[in-house]
């Protein structure tokens, strides 16, 4: 592919990514909301204050890979960790869960928000792992709050800086793990030893992701940049973050069709993990995207399970190799089938993008609309048209000789007005 073509197509994909992302205003609104939750949980007379509770973002909000729902009426999910540093010995998982819930309920606004999620279905005990606050009327998002314990060293590790080149230290990664509650665990209301609680490592995962996402191996970063509760909105995203957004949206659109059971569509953590493994630090969005789509499937492993005597599909958690993100594929074959169908479709669709040279903007618009949704796609094209018009009005638009490409080189395009409509 020629460079000029790559640059052009990458610009469209970049703008598309921006359209799929939350806006700066939404971002700031969300940050403000969860900071308020954090303040409520840690205020002087909060029953949790002795355990130093903190609210930290996790999941796609932390990774910078959030995409808006296809249907504007649907909520954006924001995943948060409510992290306590110490706990009374006697506390079980249930104690932690209920204490966090009670503190939330002592605020009349949060109490109402807990009710408003699923009509109060989870009001008493919360969901399986989280409490969910529904920010309904004004905002259109909900927040999943995951009660957890972690060691005091976590904060220190988050401030420690890493470079894209440094090896992830296994010890540090493990120290980033948190212990969470799970109502479906047998020991949910009996076991007070956190060593027996479910271990989760969203911050270790984030560190792995960000390290792989950096274009320059030399750049230093600390995890704090992305999980800092007052984190800044990123106008510019890394290519891997954009690709993950595009992939997730592609999945959303494909599986919104009636021919599929939406329940079994590919899950985000598998998409994000495979994309990250397949990323080769390409700076150009179309190169990053093409490379990832071409290589993704080769990172799905076949592992022999001696207990069943069968081979199983594995997408290992990169920071906990014994955890299989694709474990549900074993029981629900359709999940696996769908994943491969989705990979096939991605490859077909990428072909269409790669063969759109000289076929007309309307052709590219139609292809991208089918993949990512008509409304967002058309907005990207309209905006690029308006941008060209602004450039001309400012006297910056030029036309090159040869074939008349409009851009930054050649003869200046003078101001003028299209007329017409002389037909009767």
């Amino acid at each position: 592919m020629e460079q000029i073509y790559k640059t052009e197509i990458s610009e469209y994909l970049e703008e598309l990514g921006k359209e799929l992302d939350i806006t700066q205003k939404e971002h700031e609104e969300i940050v403000k909301s969860y900071q308020a939750v954090g303040n409520w949980l840690s205020k002087d007379d909060s029953s949790l204050t002795p355990y130093n509770p903190k609210i930290l973002p996790q999941g796609s909000f932390m990774l910078g890979t959030i995409v808006k729902p296809i249907n504007p009426a649907d909520d954006i999910d924001i995943d948060l960790v409510c992290k306590l540093e110490k706990k009374p010995n006697a506390w079980t998982q249930r104690d932690l869960k209920i204490r966090v819930g009670d503190q939330l309920k002592s605020n009349s606004t949060y109490d109402r928000m807990l009710w408003e999620h699923k009509d109060g279905e989870n009001y008493d005990e919360g969901g399986r792992r989280c409490w969910t606050l529904k920010y309904a009327d004004v905002a259109g998002y909900h927040m999943d709050i995951l009660p957890s314990f972690s060691s005091e060293g976590l904060t220190y590790l988050m401030e420690k800086t890493f470079s894209g080149d440094s090896e992830l230290n296994e010890h540090d990664l493990q120290a980033l793990a948190i212990r969470i509650t799970d109502t479906e665990k047998e020991n949910y209301s009996t076991d007070n030893n956190i060593e027996n609680w479910h271990k989760s490592n969203p911050f270790g995962y984030a560190q792995w992701f960000l390290q792989k996402a950096l274009i320059s191996k030399r750049r230093m970063f600390s995890l704090n940049e992305s999980i800092d509760p007052v984190r800044e909105y990123e106008k510019e995203k890394l290519p891997l973050q954009r690709v993950v957004q595009l992939l997730k949206r592609h999945r959303d659109i494909m599986f919104s069709s009636d021919e599929f059971d939406c329940e079994n569509r590919p899950i985000s953590v598998i998409i994000t993990t495979l994309a990250t493994l397949a990323y080769d630090r390409s700076e150009n969005l179309i190169d990053a995207y093409s490379g990832i789509v071409a290589r993704m499937r080769s990172y799905i492993e076949d592992r022999f399970n001696p207990e069943t005597g069968q081979y199983e599909k594995w997408v290992a958690n990169p920071i906990n190799k014994v955890e299989n993100f694709a474990d549900k594929w074993i029981d629900v074959k359709q999940k696996e089938e769908y994943f491969y169908l989705w990979l096939d479709r991605l490859e077909e669709d990428l072909e269409k993008i790669n063969y759109s040279k000289g076929r007309g903007l309307q052709y590219l618009n139609e292809s991208l609309s089918k993949m990512y949704g008509k409304e967002v796609t058309t907005r990207v094209f309209v905006n690029s048209g308006k941008k060209k018009m602004d450039l001309r009005e400012q006297g910056h638009l030029k036309m090159a000789g040869g074939i008349g490409i409009l851009g930054e080189v050649g003869t200046k395009v003078q101001q003028h007005n299209f007329e017409g409509d002389f037909e009767k």
């Binding site: 052009e8 000289g358 001309r392 008349g404 003869t411 003028h416 299209f418």
Partner: protein, 144 residues
């Protein structure tokens, strides 16, 4: 401006231009335009008469019409595919101006905005409002 001066300026930037006829005070030629690498390539014919007029036509294909429209935007004639690139009443173009630095870039722009127009039937390239009556009708209808 003498036809010769116009012609040699065009040929300098578009060496592949095909000259159909060239006389002392007029010429006809065809060039190919592609406003962006993603756009189609269009053949346009330019007809120039010294100190009088310039006309531009898209000649190698029948231009499609956007789904929600009946005719092409900003043309003198949908049938002849003659583009209307500037405001004659505002004298935005005079025969003393070089075609290569006015008419041709404007034609490239026209083709770019035409492809965007095919997407949703709206013209984003500025100029007079093609669909003013339609908007007025809508406002009147909404107010009823």
């Amino acid at each position: 401006m003498p036809a010769n001066n116009q012609l040699s300026a065009i040929l300098e930037a578009f060496p592949d231009a095909k000259i159909l006829s060239s006389k002392r005070d007029n010429f006809e030629l065809e060039i190919e335009l592609q406003p962006s690498i993603l756009c189609e390539i269009y053949k346009i014919k330019i007809v120039y008469v010294s100190n009088k007029s310039v006309k531009v036509y898209v000649v190698d294909k029948v231009l499609k019409i956007a789904q929600n429209r009946q005719k092409l935007p900003h043309v003198y004639s949908t049938k002849n595919q003659q583009l209307c690139l500037y405001s004659p009443s505002k004298k935005e173009w005079k025969p003393t101006q070089y075609i290569i630095s006015t008419i041709i870039p404007w034609a490239s722009e026209w083709l770019y905005y035409y492809e965007l127009w095919l997407i949703d039937g709206n013209w984003y390239g500025g100029g007079h409002d093609e669909y003013l009556n339609e908007e007025l009708n809508k406002i009147i209808k909404d107010e009823r």
